[in-house]
Every structure is written in structure tokens, then in C-alpha cells.
């Protein structure tokens, strides 16, 4: 009758600190012995071996039992630390992962690799950083959970930490006016560059190739007009949604892709412009071209992502906003 009990007591006490082990060992033997005796005394015709099995079954998992006896937590991170842990993980992931991914992609592009390689490297680095951050933060919190003097939360909550209510209008009038002013100025600039006064004689040297007036410049102006209409419709709808985000991407692509193509194939700038620059015309042309490509790509991506983030926020806040 001893073997099962011995094994049970061993399993329960082996993870307990030395100081408590002998005492817990003795207490468990008393408890098991009394429970077995009680079952035998009940006289249901049990053999001592059956009674022992039944008593140990009632005690349950020895490690769980030991944890209850010595007040050890049976969870990795408990209710006292959980919210601090969750907020810290979210904060770190939201800040560190996008920045690192962006920096690695940017470094890959500058380093002269292909766009595909740069993106794959960036995403892989971002992913492994995310996994590492979550893991190590969790390890630290699990250790804090197991250190003594665990009575209060790490941070104290005050009403000042309450989040703002969602705005009843996501797209403000200021947003509308700024966007339209920007788009009108952009259209004006496309026209104005044609009439840049460049020499005392009063002759005009357009910045962009005048040949583009055949199709591409009217096209780009039409896209900008379409963006003004889009902005007005967005203002009327008060909130972003997935449709607006999708159309926003189409409009951004419709503008940025032709600009990048024209610039990289050397069709964008007026060749006469560089004739006037002097000996370093090629250098100036390269810098200008890269500047235009970089700006077009960054603005288009930024604006597209921004639209999706705002659409996501709008549908996330939909329920409270409806009640407000």
C-alpha cells in the first residue's frame, strides 16, 4: 500500500522549497492515511489498494495540490500585472516593430538591393523583433509575479488616464479646407511652371517637358480634381470607411505611378532646363529625378495607409459613436 502514496508524496514535494518539504511530506501522509482509513471504515468492501487509489484520485494532480499548500501561483501572469503587461507589449510592438521594419527596408533600398529583398528582409526582421519583444517582456513579468511583496499593481490608475470619447465627426472642416487648398495649389503649380520667367529677356522656360501637355499634364490635373471631389464626399460622409480607403488607394496610385514612370524614364523634366544649368546638368537632373520619385512614393504610401488606419478606427468606434 505504500508505493502509490510514496510516489504521490514525492511528486507533490519535489518542487517545494527544502524548508517546507519535510513538513509537507508529513502532512500529506497524515491526510492520505486518514482518507484511506475513512474509506475502509465506510465498509463498502474496498480493498486497501482500491481505497488508496480512490483517496489519491480525490487529492488530484500533486503539483496543483502542492501549489495550493504553499500559495504558489498557477498562472504565468496574474490579474494584478496582466493589464500592465498587455499595455506594455502593445506599446512596444506598435512603436518598435514598424520603425525597425521601415528602417531595414529603407537601408536595403539604399544599399542597392532589389525592392523584393529589402521588403522580405524588413518583414522578417520586424517579425522576429515582435516575437522577441513579446517573449522577453512576458519572462520579466512572470518573474515579477513570482517575487515577494506582490500586493499592488505596478501602475496606479487615475481618472486622468481615461481615453477621449470618439469624435462625432472624424473628418473635420479644417481637414477639408487644408486638403482642398493643397490640391488647388498643386494644380496651380502644374500650370504655373509653364510660365516661369527665367531670363531678363522675359522668355519662358517650363520646368516640366511641354510635350507632356499632349496627355500627361491634363491627366494629372484631372486626377487632382478627382481628389478634390473625393475630399468633399469624405467630408459629407463624416467618417472614413473601407470604400473610401480603397478609392483613396486608387487615386494615390493613379497619380504616383505615372509620375514615377515619367521621372525614371526621363520624360518629366524639360531638357532645356538642364541646358541652362551648366556643366553639372547631369548631377542636377539625377538629384531632381530621385527627389520627385522618393516624394511621390512616400506620400502615396503614407496617405493610403493613413486612409486604412482611419477606416479601421471608424469601424472600431462605430458603436460608441452611434450612442454619442
Amino acid at each position: 500500500m505504500t508505493t502509490l502514496t510514496d510516489r504521490y508524496v514525492h511528486a507533490a514535494t519535489r518542487t517545494v522549497h527544502d524548508r517546507q518539504r519535510a513538513e509537507l511530506d508529513r502532512e500529506l501522509r497524515e491526510r492520505i492515511g486518514d482518507a484511506v482509513d475513512a474509506r475502509l471504515a465506510a465498509g463498502d468492501g474496498l480493498t486497501p489498494a482500491d481505497a488508496e487509489v480512490a483517496a489519491l484520485t480525490e487529492l488530484g494532480d500533486p503539483e496543483r495540490l502542492a501549489a495550493r499548500y504553499v500559495d504558489r501561483p498557477l498562472y504565468l501572469i496574474g490579474p494584478r500585472l496582466y493589464l500592465d503587461w498587455l499595455r506594455l507589449v502593445k506599446l512596444l510592438l506598435a512603436i518598435a516593430v514598424p520603425i525597425t521594419t521601415g528602417v531595414v527596408i529603407f537601408a536595403g533600398l539604399i544599399g542597392g538591393g532589389t525592392v523584393g529583398d529589402a521588403v522580405v528582409n524588413g518583414l522578417a526582421t520586424g517579425f522576429s523583433l515582435a516575437v522577441n519583444l513579446a517573449f522577453w517582456v512576458t519572462v520579466v513579468f512572470a518573474i515579477i509575479e513570482r517575487t515577494p511583496a506582490r500586493s499592488t499593481a505596478l501602475t496606479t490608475w487615475t481618472p486622468a488616464r481615461l481615453p477621449e470619447l470618439p469624435k462625432s465627426r472624424q473628418v473635420s472642416r479644417v481637414d477639408l479646407i487644408l486638403s482642398i487648398v493643397f490640391l488647388v495649389v498643386a494644380i496651380g503649380a502644374l500650370v504655373w511652371q509653364q510660365f516661369t520667367v527665367d531670363r531678363p529677356g522675359g522668355e519662358f522656360t517650363p520646368i516640366l517637358d511641354p510635350a507632356l501637355w499632349a496627355f500627361w499634364l491634363p491627366y494629372l490635373i484631372a486626377v487632382l480634381v478627382a481628389e478634390i471631389v473625393f475630399t468633399a464626399l469624405l467630408y459629407r460622409n463624416r467618417h472614413w470607411n473601407w470604400w473610401f480607403a480603397a478609392v483613396n488607394i486608387v487615386l494615390n496610385a493613379a497619380f504616383a505611378i505615372p509620375v514615377v514612370w515619367l521621372a525614371s524614364t526621363g520624360q518629366l523634366f524639360n531638357p532645356e532646363l538642364f541646358d541652362r544649368v551648366g556643366p553639372d546638368a547631369d548631377g542636377v537632373r539625377t538629384v531632381l529625378t530621385n527627389l520627385v520619385i522618393g516624394a511621390a512614393v512616400i506620400i502615396a504610401i503614407w496617405d493610403s495607409v493613413d486612409g486604412f488606419v482611419k477606416a479601421w478606427r471608424a469601424q472600431r468606434d462605430e458603436v460608441p459613436a452611434a450612442g454619442a
Partner: protein
């Protein structure tokens, strides 16, 4: 099934504190775990072994019980008894118990002020 489980969990919650009080009062005469379990259940304070044994340890750690090993019989047994601090706590808990009882009585007789 839902109602039965709800009832059971509320009953368990209501009785949780009374087990502590029952132990502190009952252990004014020293006794060991299994005998205490039997006698508490015998007088109608329902508690199971998985709750009682860890509870005894916790009360001892808080200085409300003292313990001593009795090795007179073949099986060594740990005898617990209520300490002076445990006595004081028992008195306070009993007083509170009566206050709650009076308040609930007022509610049932419709005599609340």
C-alpha cells in the same frame, strides 16, 4: 443546469467565510485535519478536504492557529489549535455575523429603516 450551477456557486461564496469562523471556534480544543473535517461537516458547515487542509496551513501562517505534531499513535498527526489572535478574530467575525443576521432579518420582516 445553469440555475443549479449559479445557485451552487453563490452558496459556496456565502459559506466561504463561515468555514474560517467555524475552524477558529472549533479549534479552541486542539484537533487534527481529518477529525476537524468530519466534525464541521457533522454540524452542517460543509467543506471539502481540498479546501480545508490548505486553509489550515494559511491560518497557521497568519498566526491565527498554532500547530503541534502528535506522535503518540502509529500515524503522526498535526494538531491545530486557535491562538489568542485567532480568538480575537473569531470574536470580531461573530459580532459581524450577528450584525449581518440582524440586517437580513430586518429586510425579511419588512422593517428596514
Amino acid at each position: 443546469m445553469g440555475t443549479d450551477e449559479t445557485t451552487a456557486s453563490h452558496l459556496q461564496e456565502l459559506r466561504r467565510g463561515t468555514v474560517v469562523l467555524g475552524c477558529l471556534m472549533r479549534l479552541r480544543t486542539p484537533d487534527y485535519g481529518y477529525a476537524l473535517l468530519e466534525s464541521l461537516n457533522g454540524i452542517g458547515i460543509t467543506v471539502d478536504a481540498n479546501t480545508l487542509y490548505p486553509l489550515l496551513r494559511r491560518l497557521e501562517k497568519q498566526g491565527l492557529l498554532t500547530s503541534e505534531w502528535n506522535t503518540d499513535e502509529a500515524r503522526p498527526r498535526k494538531f491545530y489549535s486557535t491562538s489568542p489572535a485567532g480568538d480575537r478574530l473569531a470574536a470580531e467575525l461573530t459580532a459581524d455575523w450577528h450584525r449581518i443576521d440582524q440586517a437580513l432579518t430586518r429586510l425579511t420582516t419588512g422593517d428596514e429603516r
